[in-house]
């Protein structure tokens, strides 16, 4: 490890804001040495509670994160926030607009707020975000909130770096067919109907509860299958959202919380719901399980990155991808033959070493 990196790690662990900021930049830019940096921070991680917040644009995520942060601060916790915003696929430019809504915490240096752009990078951004979370964790933040626009698979990967995921659903955000669609609604541990003072919020809460109930009845992995079989609740049952004790043994039933972020109504309920999920995760052993899965994913991802780096260099050595494409176009070879050709010597090397 270079002296620069060592110094940066020491400063970060000593609590220097600038060192934390610079570390995240290095991670984001994948500057030389960033891997050593994350490596060195690793042993200092694992103490923070990581919360993901996602939802459609305009759902009120930033305002809610602001109030959530303020409440955690009032209770004596330190907070780190990472807000991920999309970037232009054409220029790479971005306006990272969430900081503006962190008004309640402005000037409070115990809140570390960092904006990150997606940089048009599929997959890479979730690695960078996960590594930035580690930096905040090593820095000593108690709560780390990762906020992102829930607009695609990429964003779903990001919030998966969290132990608990809150999905914001604005009132009147569509008919029940929307809640049947795959994707964003499947990742929520806690659903938040923000702007609950608007008309239509009761209905949205009801629809979410029905959706959760339905997922439980159809034997999703989380609910432990046949448990509900004999005494299925009727669809639309008013009690649909109320879980019984048996449910807790079998799995987590997502809760539905109503908030009005602009005046912090319901924020305490949300914190209770997040804490309840955390407790469930911890007591059921799922927190460890999730951490293990995440570590496995991390190892695989790094290996894939390294391997693809190796392969890129090998492609360059063989005249570059363009030349190979030309030879395929000219009918001299085909992509499968090329792939076999490039990978074969690597396989041989690995076999020899075994």
């Amino acid at each position: 490890m270079s002296a620069d990196v060592r110094g940066l790690v020491d400063d970060l662990l000593d609590g220097h804001q600038r060192a934390l900021a610079r570390t995240i930049t290095k991670i984001e830019n994948r500057e030389p040495g960033y891997r050593d940096l994350v490596s060195a921070l690793y042993e200092h991680t694992g103490n923070a509670e990581v919360i993901g917040v996602t939802g459609s644009p305009g759902a009120g995520k930033s305002t809610l994160v602001d109030k959530l942060t303020e409440t955690y601060r009032d209770r004596g916790h330190t907070v780190g926030v990472i807000a991920v915003d999309p970037s232009s696929p054409y220029t790479g430019g971005a306006v990272l607009g969430d900081r503006i809504r962190m008004a309640s915490n402005v000037g409070d240096m115990d809140v570390f707020f960092r904006s990150m752009s997606a940089r048009g990078n599929l997959g890479g951004i979730s690695t960078a975000t996960a590594d930035a979370v580690k930096a905040l964790d090593a820095f000593g933040k108690d709560k780390i909130i990762v906020e992102t626009v829930g607009a695609g698979q990429n964003e779903i990967d990001i919030v998966r770096t969290a132990d608990t995921v809150a999905v914001l659903v604005p009132p009147g955000s569509g008919d029940e067919v929307q809640t049947l669609k795959a994707g964003i609604l499947e990742i929520g541990d806690v659903f938040v109907v923000n702007k609950a003072d608007l008309p239509g919020s009761d209905r949205t809460v009801q629809e979410l509860k029905e959706m959760i109930q339905l997922a439980g009845d159809t034997g999703s992995p989380a609910s432990g299958g046949g448990h509900h079989g004999p005494d299925q609740h009727a669809l639309g049952d008013a009690e649909a959202g109320a879980d019984d004790d048996e449910d807790d043994e079998a799995g987590w039933t997502p809760s539905v919380v109503e908030t009005v972020a602009t005046d912090a109504t319901g924020v305490d309920d949300l914190i209770d719901a997040l804490a309840a999920h955390r407790e469930y995760m911890s007591e059921s052993g799922r927190l460890d399980e999730k951490a293990r899965t995440r570590t496995a994913e991390e190892i695989r991802l790094l290996l894939r990155e390294d391997a693809s780096g190796l392969l890129e260099r090998e492609l360059d050595r063989r005249g570059g991808i363009d030349a190979l494409v030309e030879s395929v176009r000219a009918g001299e070879t085909d992509p499968y033959a090329i792939a076999d050709d490039v990978v074969a010597p690597i396989e041989d090397c690995l076999d020899e070493r075994r």
């Binding site: 830019n29 607009g97 900081r99």
Partner: protein, 138 residues
Amino acid sequence: MSVDQTQRSIRCLVAKVGLDGHDRGAHVIARAFRDAGFEVIYSGLHKAPEDIVQAAVQEDVDVLGISILSGAHNTLVPKVIEGLKEYDAFEDTLILVGGVIPDEDKADLKEMGVAEVFGPGTKMEETIQFVRENVPER
């Protein structure tokens, strides 16, 4: 494209400090910077100098553009610069000031550490070009 390649992007904070309530210019410059491929963070209106320092330090921006139309630049800009120095962020932040700044004040601001002052009518390309040429090497 190699996966190891660094993904450097110029990060800018566009800031409004003090009581000045006009941010149309700040919006225009934020948008122009975005279209130039920069990552732009906008502070919002009515920020105290320490708020701007906090944002610049935590976001680790390369460029801090302060837009001031109120005439309070002589009191506010030095406070921001002091704050940046306190967090060791002054050396590698390019500080720009935009707005209505009398000629006689420009020299003082530059003396303090402002890299350039852009008055009304400055072409957007000129500002963007200046950023590209003067962004601090790290």
